[in-house]
């Protein structure tokens, strides 16, 4: 490998020492951005793209307010750097639900899964991820899946009921199948 080559193996191009051209899909739309390779995804979303549905609260991976899906996997946008998402696909809260709201969002509304709403974007993304891995989660599954998402308002009661509502619904539809 010629390490002086400026085109790197995952397709990153070094413009100069400071910036890269970043290609990524966000909520199904293609973006090409100029940014520092170590810029945090959460800043790219919030500051560069004004996608402020993704929140920031601790900045160190300890609260889950910035949770997004990276190629379908739950990650903390404050712990992912620009170069790590090149060529990848991101789903933020803005990309969940379409014309009508998603079932997870609906369950949060019906069960009171939020109060101030500041943890809610991340929480809903984390629940989406949980259900994508495990449509009918048990108490242990719920605890494991949401252990990285802090909520100071609800005491988690409404969130738990929202997830259980979905789990029951999924269970029910499985029974019909």
């Amino acid at each position: 490998m010629d390490i002086n080559n400026t085109v790197l193996h995952n397709g990153l191009t070094i413009k100069d020492k400071q910036t890269i051209n970043l290609n990524l899909m966000i909520n199904g739309e293609k973006y090409i951005l100029k940014t520092s390779p170590t810029e945090k995804l959460v800043n790219i979303l919030r500051d560069q793209l004004q996608l402020v549905g993704t929140k920031i609260s601790c900045g160190i991976g300890r609260c889950g307010a910035c949770s997004v899906l990276l190629d379908g996997d739950l990650v903390n946008a404050c712990l992912v750097m620009a170069y790590q998402v090149n060529g990848k696909s991101i789903t933020t809260i803005e990309g969940i639900g379409g014309v009508s709201i998603d079932e997870v969002q609906e369950a949060f509304l019906l069960e009171g899964g939020f109060q101030c709403g500041y943890c809610t974007s991340g929480m809903i993304v984390a629940v989406k991820y949980l259900l994508s891995m495990c449509p009918n989660p048990t108490e242990a599954d719920i605890k494991e899946a949401l252990s990285g998402n802090l909520c100071r308002c609800t005491g988690y009661g409404g969130i738990i009921r929202a997830v259980q509502r979905l789990a029951n619904a999924n269970n029910y539809s499985k029974d019909i199948d």
């Binding site: 109060q115 709403g117 500041y118 005491g155």
Partner: protein, 752 residues
């Protein structure tokens, strides 16, 4: 009084959709054209003289637009809700590590951050007073001109000394409670935008917009009329955003640069500067006769105020008031003292001093029950207040039987063994209960103005407005539900206007469990005149008799014509001139002149089950039952959410949370070592039981439930631990280390 609110169960919060879709713009999400980014330089030392401040190098950094210090404050260089004693920018002395020295506005947060590193401050360190004990020493350096005592508060009735002599059982204990972080998920922040008239609009969270306007006007030296505060929505507050945080800095920077300035604290910055719950040390001596009747109760409270006053005096008054809780104690002596230190500033926090004092009070009840070999419920019943008893300061209060209803329900719950927890090799199980009484409103002697406005706006919406903020507590649901109920209109007809000083009436602060109460009381006052105005207009316009008209969904209806409104609100709005009703009143307060005395009280009881791990001394809460008596439920999901959420917040205070300071420095700066409960710490087996009945003739309606769920859980958990392994904890958060030592000393581990 029964609520008719069950049918509202499924009404979705007005702010719900925007919150679950992430489309709601919080004030920290805002950007404006040409916006700059601000950062605040905080003190390096907990206590020092400032010898010099040099900002030249910082100013020279490309991208830096302004660097401000105390010299740049046009008005009063101080803030503070009760007494303005906290410098906006310190001049010659810093008193805690959150003290501000300078602020920078720059093209980006990174540049502003970099600029802070180049502000040269020369300090001369002073002796650090990092505990009330040190501050109270006779030769201690004075933190403020009047000395180191911020506030004293006391209450006395009867003669405790004499009464102790008659006591059969006496228990004496010192309870220690830590500093707690509010840990709202949205850190402080927002944008201040300069307006053409030389004024500003402040987009930043607060729990009292008008108070912010007042404080900022004082700092900027411009009239309040030139300042608009937009304070909604808020990503959590719990009391923590009541005092000024970033507002003065963003305002000063915006005026200096004539550009919008955004400040958004990082979590570390937030922890460094923000107010916290008061750490308290409470020494209590309580004595009873042989039947468990309390004869004497002597309480000494020492609160660590930190560097500045903010709402500290009121918090201490509240603790002193609640020292006897729901019990009738003939001889009582309570003395509280709030002491300045070089620690972080303590201030308002959900529960307002009730949490700390109740931990001590209920702890005493349980210890006495053990000494006397009486059932913990029985000893409480023996001392419990009855419907018409005076309040805890010997003052008149609204009659209430909440205390006994709650205790009764708690007793029923504690008899129902839900699960049969069997002690296993390394686990022990226990159950605990506790109850509490909690005042709502600011109390006697405090300006507690309340009020609201209702009108039919040009669009034909019933516009209801309060000077409150939605911090997450569900105020919008409360308003919507009550308007629909009291006016009779539909959900679509209601338009709620809050959180903007340019358009809302004065309602007072969104604190002290006032919101629900005030909305209900305002509507009681406004609904009649409002209906009257609309009906009169329709009557005048159509010559139909007023008595045949009433307000319903979508418009004004005529008796007998049930297929639709007689005149829609929209049609009505086109012609009506006199369409607004305003009310302003004082929050109900005791008629007796006792400082801080409340009039409306709520009651709460908790039963918990815990598991204690013998190998590590760790405590896990397995189930929580809350019993709440706070009048009728206005919005069921909001009610449950307040109680569950408040309970878990205090579960954290009991088991995990400790905003420890060592030598005036925080030992933790983020959620990696400041641990709040996550979902795994929360028992799925949590239940909320509401007692909605109020006594016959009560005309004060639903009470707020923002705080009541945070109180009784703390002593209940501690009692449950005692039930499990026989050890009394008197210091929070419960230390696994202390529990383990107890386990060892009891010989529960064979190898030690």
């Amino acid at each position: 009084m029964k609520s008719k609110l069950i049918e509202k169960e499924d009404r979705i919060r007005p702010d719900g959709l925007s919150k679950v879709t992430g489309s709601l713009q919080y004030l920290t999400d805002l950007t404006f054209p040409d916006m700059l980014y601000g950062k605040v330089l905080r003190s390096k030392y907990p206590h020092a003289k400032i010898l010099s401040i040099n900002t030249e190098k910082a100013e020279a950094i490309p991208g830096v637009e302004a660097v401000l210090t105390y010299k740049d404050v046009p008005g009063m260089n101080r803030f503070g809700i009760i007494i303005p004693d906290q410098p906006v920018f310190c001049e010659d002395r810093v008193r805690y590590i959150g003290d501000a020295i300078a602020a920078v506005a720059a093209q980006s947060f990174e540049i502003a951050e970099e600029a802070l590193k180049h502000i040269e401050v020369v300090y001369e360190e002073l002796q650090i007073l990092d505990s009330p004990d040190k501050s109270l020493r006779p030769n201690a350096i004075r933190l403020h001109p009047a000395g180191n005592i911020c506030h004293r508060s006391s209450y006395q009735n009867g003669d405790v000394q004499q009464a102790f002599e008659e006591c059969v059982a006496i228990v004496e204990e010192t309870y220690e409670l830590p500093r707690q972080l509010h840990a709202y998920m949205e850190t402080e922040g927002g944008v201040v935008v300069p307006e053409e008239n030389g004024g500003i609009t402040v987009y930043a969270a607060t729990q009292h917009g008008f108070k912010d306007r007042f404080q900022i006007s004082r700092i900027l030296g411009i009239p309040e009329s030139m300042i608009r505060i937009v304070s909604n929505p808020i990503g959590g507050s719990f009391g923590g955003k009541d005092e000024q945080n970033i507002q003065p800095y963003a305002s000063l920077l915006a005026l200096a640069t004539k550009r919008p300035v955004k400040i958004h604290n990082t979590r570390q910055e937030s922890i460094r500067a923000s107010i916290k719950r008061h750490p308290m040390k409470i020494t209590v001596k309580t004595g009873t006769d042989s039947t468990g009747k309390i004869l004497a109760h002597q309480v000494k409270i020492i609160a660590d105020k930190g560097a500045y006053t903010t709402l500290g005096p009121a918090v201490l008054d509240f603790s002193v008031e609640h020292a006897a809780g729901p019990y009738i104690i003939p001889n009582i002596e309570t003395e509280g003292i709030s002491v300045y230190t070089n620690n972080g500033v303590s201030g308002e926090f959900r529960g307002f001093g009730g949490n700390q004092i109740t931990f001590a009070l209920e702890g005493q009840m349980d210890r006495l029950a053990e000494v006397l070999k009486i059932d913990p419920i029985e000893i409480r019943r023996k001392n419990l207040r009855t419907t018409t008893d005076l309040g805890p300061l010997g003052h008149r209060i609204a009659p209430t039987d909440g205390a006994s209803l709650v205790l009764e329900k708690v007793q029923k719950l504690s008899k129902q063994l839900k699960k049969d927890y069997k002690d296993s090799l390394w686990k022990r199980y226990g159950t605990g209960i506790a109850i509490t009484m909690h005042g709502g409103g600011l109390g006697f002697g405090r300006l507690d103005s309340a009020g609201g406005r209702i009108s039919l706006n040009k669009q034909g919406e019933i516009e209801i407005s309060f000077g409150f903020e939605e911090c997450g507590q569900g105020l919008l649901s409360v308003i919507e539900n009550l308007v629909i109920e009291e006016i009779g209109c539909s959900q679509q007809d209601v338009k709620i206007v809050i959180g903007d000083t340019s358009v809302v009436p004065i309602s007072g602060s969104s604190t002290a469990s006032r919101g629900t109460s005030i909305v209900w009381q305002s509507l009681q006052k406004m609904k009649g005149p409002f209906k009257e105005k609309l009906c009169k207009y329709v009557s005048d316009a159509t010559s139909i008799c007023k008595e045949e008209l009433y307000l319903g969904p979508y418009g004004i209806w005529k008796v007998g014509k049930e297929d639709g409104p007689f005149m829609t609100y929209k049609e009505c709005a086109e012609g009506i001139v006199d369409q607004t009703v305003l009310t302003s009143f004082h929050f109900p307060v005791t008629p007796d002149a006792v400082n801080g005395g409340h009039f409306l009280y709520t009651f709460g009881g908790v039963k918990v089950d815990v598991e204690v791990d013998l190998l590590s001394g760790k405590v896990k809460v397995l189930s929580i039952d809350h019993v709440i008596s706070a009048g009728p439920i206005v919005s069921p999901k909001g009610y449950i959410g307040q109680i569950e959420g408040g309970g878990v917040m205090s579960l954290g205070y009991t088991l995990l949370e400790d905003m420890k300071m060592i030598n005036g420095q925080y030992a933790t700066t983020n959620f990696d070592s400041y641990l709040i409960p996550n979902i795994v710490d929360v028992p799925f087996d949590t239940n909320v039981f509401a007692i909605e009945d109020l006594v016959e003739g009560d005309s004060y309606g639903p009470r707020g439930v923002g705080e009541i769920g945070t109180i009784a859980i703390i002593p209940a958990v501690v009692k449950a631990v005692h039930d499990a392994i026989g050890c009394w904890v008197s210091k929070l958060p419960i230390s696994s280390e202390e529990i383990l030592e107890n386990i060892e000393s009891k010989g529960m581990l064979t190898w030690i």
